[in-house]
């Protein structure tokens, strides 16, 4: 016989530390005292997020979500909720106690504690992505039905414009406006393109969307085709995403089979088809003009804008080009209406944003939150806080084009404009969390190295400027920096922003400017004191043995891979700095903290 109730006790690390074990024992005792062993099962679970509100307990099947429990509350939950079937209201999570806003306060009787809200990821993890029937059963292709038979192309564009949807690829250009430019451009041939060339380090939102819900992209592109009068669409996806490509191919074949792609869709006069084009994985091809060049079979290099692709794009024809995540929003906007969509988010950034949350965070993963959610909610409520209880240092958003968000902005609502105001950008949605062990100069060097590698080399500011910036950062992390390097860094950065041809070069220096602004003292420390507080820049490290603490055990000498530690168990040991490769093994191995790292 199954149990009547299940008591789930969050046993993530954060809750463990706030007495969840004690709560567990109290539940076991109360259940025994009330002779409920056969009716109730107590289960330890993984982290639920919301760690600052721990300990957390969830009762099923009632779905009661109790927070900040104390051992003395346990009896009340057993007697009220389990025996009498009444939730204990005073212990339930109440979004009003919490600074957080909830996107759907007008919908009653749902799980209010959930900070995430999934529009783009609505079907990911729900349907089998290889079965079109499952997509159709969940209102799939219903938006297409609606536009083909109930809306004029202008109404479709108006709906998208009114929704306030902005491009999710990074720059945040209003999608409806983009479509209307293409619609107005005179041409008998027009194209629709999906930009699936996701390449930021640590970003995988688009891949997961394509793998989990490929039909939503096909449906959205077809809708745009109808709106701007295009009959052909291309999905430009990098060859490194084999599973996404496979599922897209299956989806396209199924849609053609059902007549949802091809001639005279659903018996209407509108025809539309989609082809996949594989990219070789060059980061610059995420830039729209470079992407179009690559689609045409040319070398993937950007060209100056204007003319914008909306007017003169693929093979010189007007082209709507949107990012995967932007597309995934479209069917929902059409079905639910612009007004519904515009209620979610902030004044100028509507809807939700998907982030790939990675780095030094407990619950890394793919999350979707309403625009305007704060970094604190993302990192501590959803992400479960920083790994190993360390201190939050900064979050990097926008990848190599973005910047860092330091701790003082943890409570800034995240949207396009706020991120730009604090020197970062939305980017495509990578969010890398850093703790005290990350060196900010080293991280900046990493991103710059990426941009230098990926620069196409067409324009001088990006090609030469990026290289010079990297060279200066290397000097600083090697201990050869001087204070006038900081001035040079900022001058070259600004020149790149102004003079580069495309988005890659214009934004490549953002990590430099943003980290120099918020972490000036770390740069100065590297230059003046030859000190890296995170102990990441190996050239600045120096290991020494403290004679007063050393017990002459010789472990360090054994551990040293290059024989830089000499001595014996009688005279003691000494590190030869000319031989030392600063690997830190001796430091880790010494049990008596007799080795200093400076």
């Amino acid at each position: 016989m199954p149990y009547k109730h299940y008591i789930l006790i969050c046993s993530g690390t954060a809750c463990e530390s706030s007495r969840s074990r004690e709560i567990h024992d109290h539940f076991m005792k109360e259940i025994k005292d009330h002779q409920l062993e056969n009716d109730v099962q107590v289960v330890k679970t993984g982290c639920f997020g919301f760690c600052e509100q721990g300990p957390i307990v969830k009762v099923l099947p009632d779905n009661a979500f109790y927070v900040r429990l104390k051992p003395e509350d346990v009896r009340e939950i057993i007697e009220e909720n389990i025996i009498k079937g009444r939730m204990v209201k005073r212990l339930l999570y109440n979004p009003k106690d919490d600074k957080g806003r909830h996107p759907m306060t007008d919908v009653a009787n749902i799980d209010f504690y959930q900070k995430q809200f999934r529009i783009v990821l609505r079907n990911c993890g729900v349907i089998d992505p290889e079965k079109i029937d499952e997509y159709i059963a969940r209102d799939g292709y219903k938006a297409l039905e609606k536009v083909l038979f109930e809306m004029t192309p202008d109404q479709v564009i108006e709906e998208v414009t009114k929704s306030g949807l902005r491009g999710r690829g990074g720059a945040g250009f209003p999608t409806g406006m983009k479509w209307s430019f293409t619609k107005k451009a005179p041409s008998d041939i027009k194209y629709i393109v999906c930009n699936a060339d996701e390449g930021d380090p640590g970003a995988y939102m688009d891949r997961s969307t394509l793998e989990g819900d490929p039909h939503s992209i096909l449906e959205a592109m077809t809708i745009a085709g109808y709106a701007v009068n295009a009959n052909k669409g291309f999905i430009y996806i990098r060859a490194e995403y084999p599973l996404a490509i496979e599922r897209l191919n299956i989806a396209i074949a199924q849609a053609r089979d059902y007549g949802l792609l091809g001639e005279n869709l659903l018996g209407s006069s509108f025809s539309f088809d989609i082809e996949i084009r594989l990219g070789a994985g060059a980061f610059v091809c995420g830039e729209e003009t470079a992407l179009l060049a690559s689609l045409e079979g040319e070398r993937g290099m950007p060209r100056p804008r204007p003319p914008f692709p909306a007017v003169k794009g693929l093979w010189g024809k007007p082209t709507v080009i949107n990012n995967v995540e932007t597309w995934a929003n479209i069917p929902v906007i059409i079905l639910r209406g612009a007004a519904w969509f515009a209620k979610i988010g902030t004044e100028k950034s509507k809807g939700t944003k998907v982030f790939a949350l990675t780095g030094k965070i407990n619950n890394s993963g793919l999350i979707e939150v309403p625009m305007g959610t704060t970094l604190r909610e993302i990192i501590f409520d959803i992400g479960g806080g920083i790994k190993d209880g360390k201190q939050f240092k900064a979050a990097q958003t926008g990848g190599p084009s973005g910047g860092v968000i330091p701790a003082q902005f943890l409570d800034t609502p995240i949207d396009y404009d706020n991120l730009i105001a604090i020197g970062s950008m939305m980017g495509s949605g990578g969010m890398i969390v850093m703790d005290e062990d990350d060196c900010i100069v080293d991280i900046t060097k990493f991103y710059l190295q990426f941009s230098v590698d990926e620069s196409c080399g067409k324009c001088a500011p990006c090609r030469i400027g990026g290289y010079q910036l990297l060279h200066l950062l290397e000097k600083i992390t090697n201990g050869n920096g001087s204070m006038d390097h900081l001035d040079k860094l900022s001058r070259i950065s600004q020149a790149m922003q102004k003079a580069s041809l495309c988005g890659l070069g214009q934004t490549a220096s953002n990590p430099v400017l943003s980290t120099m602004k918020y972490f000036t003292e770390e740069y100065t420390e590297h230059i003046q004191n030859h000190k890296c507080r995170a102990h990441k820049c190996s050239h600045l490290l120096k290991f020494d043995i403290l004679i007063e603490k050393c017990i002459k055990c010789g472990l360090c000498a054994k551990a040293c891979p290059v024989g830089a530690i000499s001595g014996d168990r009688e005279k003691g040991y000494l590190i030869d700095h000319t031989k030392c490769i600063k690997c830190g093994l001796c430091f880790e191995r010494c049990k008596f903290k007799a080795i200093t790292r400076g």
Binding site: Q41, L60, G267
Partner: protein
């Protein structure tokens, strides 16, 4: 399959919805494995095979093992969701082959939840609400 007309698609959606509602009212038992790149990299294929193998070994019929995309809980991949009558729908994380076999014994046969693996569903389903 011949091309659908508007009416065909509408009729089809209705009948598929009824099927899905039936499924969601939990008349059948379903094991759904997250098979995005992240899940597969963490061993979801092995997990899926372990489920199938264990079901065969025990000769358990009428239990469907299905795949879906990424559920977003990358830190606890592979993830598996279990739908069955008389039990709350449950999302398990870190489901290795070994855990998969335990889920069949404890969750599906003994009808009790497994310790240490349950994860919270990240958000409401907007298609239904």
């Amino acid at each position: 399959m011949s091309k659908l007309t508007l009416d065909d698609l509408r009729k089809m959606r209705e009948s598929l919805k009824i099927d899905m509602d039936k499924r969601d009212s939990q008349q059948d038992t379903r094991i759904v494995v997250g098979m995005g790149t992240c899940g597969i990299a963490a061993g979801a294929k092995k997990t899926l095979n372990a489920f199938i193998d264990e079901l065969n070994k025990r000769n358990l019929k009428n239990i469907a093992v299905k795949q879906t995309g990424c559920m977003g809980n990358c830190n606890v991949e592979p993830t598996v969701e279990i739908f069955m009558p008389d039990m709350p729908t449950t999302l398990y994380g870190n489901v290795t082959e070994d855990t998969a076999r335990k889920i069949i014994q404890k969750h599906i046969i003994d009808k009790a939840l497994l310790d240490d693996h349950i994860q919270d569903k990240p958000s409401i389903d907007i298609v239904k609400h």
